[in-house]
């Protein structure tokens, strides 16, 4: 069970969260203007990254907020978590892991 650091509540066990898929896929502002290809891309195409993956989680059994996580999908190590709308770089240095394991 992963230990995920909610930007609002701090480190919490995975079962309190719901996984929300790849992060930073913005819903098109005007979907009707997209052709089928572009719309399918939005709906279905995913990076499915092997390595550092940006993804959304929702602290559904906690503060109920969505936020973003960067996780290495090979080791399951979480590198950083950040709020919706924030850039991961804005995350203070002190919160970054120095070695393996979860962010704490």
């Amino acid at each position: 069970m992963l230990l995920i650091k909610c930007p609002f509540c701090g480190p919490r066990p995975e079962i309190e969260f719901a996984y929300g898929g790849q992060a930073h896929i913005e819903r098109p502002k005007d979907p009707m203007s997209l052709d089928d290809e572009a719309w399918a891309e939005y709906l279905y195409i995913r990076n499915n990254t092997r390595g550092v993956h940006s993804e959304r989680w929702r602290h559904i059994n906690g503060c109920a907020r969505f936020f973003n996580v960067r996780r290495d999908t090979i080791s399951d190590e979480i590198l950083v978590t950040y709020k919706v709308g924030e850039a991961p770089d804005a995350v203070p240095e002190k919160d970054r892991p120095t070695k393996g394991g979860a962010v704490r």
């Binding site: 609002f8 919490r12 309190e16 059994n61 906690g62 503060c63 907020r65």
Partner: protein, 195 residues
């Protein structure tokens, strides 16, 4: 019409009756309360606090108390307001008036959940069968509250005293959560309760 209103029934009324008494972890149902979910833009927060008469904690997962009223901060813009033994209608009315010109949401959830308490030297131990959080006093001090899980049920858990926790649980899940904790505390010696 003059008829008396039908009585409110607590979802734990049945299950809490006649169970065993376990000193290490006693379970008891708390009185009904008026409850509201308040959410809104920051400008509305102080207004709500003022109207409700209890400070709204700004730190997520903390609650504040004043008299029989409590405000639990369960999300960055979400509070559960609780007034034990009061009439929800009146409070709702009063708060709505104060908040009328503010961008926010107030919803009466007085009947959504019931609350019970677990107390005793082993309450933390019993709760940790099902609750995945670190319930030690350092990590979960008195004054803390949070939505979390107990087994397969969502709850709002708060610590009111060193060895006392309150569990606010949606009505249809309440007998499950109670039953789970009751099953766990069976490992302690119990006396059957004098009826």
């Amino acid at each position: 019409m003059g008829r008396t209103a039908v009585a409110r029934v607590n979802s734990l009324a049945q299950i809490s009756r006649g169970g065993p008494e376990v000193a290490e972890a006693s379970l008891s149902v708390l009185p009904d309360a008026a409850k509201f979910v308040f959410r809104g833009r920051p400008s509305s927060w102080p207004v709500a606090a003022e109207a409700f008469g209890v400070e709204l904690p700004q730190a997520v997962n903390r609650f504040s108390v004043k008299g029989g009223r409590k405000a639990y901060c369960v999300g960055p813009d979400e509070w559960l307001l609780e007034a034990v033994g009061e009439d929800p209608g009146e409070i709702f009315h009063k708060l709505s008036e104060s908040l009328a010109s503010h961008s926010c949401s107030l919803v009466d959830v007085s009947h959504r959940s019931d609350t019970f308490e677990i107390g005793g030297t082993r309450s933390e131990y019993v709760l940790s069968h099902g609750c995945p959080l670190d319930l030690s006093e350092q990590q979960f001090p008195v004054g803390m509250c949070t939505r979390t899980l107990i087994g397969k049920s969502p709850v709002i858990l708060s610590r009111t005293e060193r060895a006392v926790f309150q569990i606010d649980v949606w009505r249809s899940f309440s007998s499950y959560v109670w039953g789970l904790l009751d099953e766990v505390r069976r490992e302690f010696p119990s006396r059957s309760r004098q009826m």
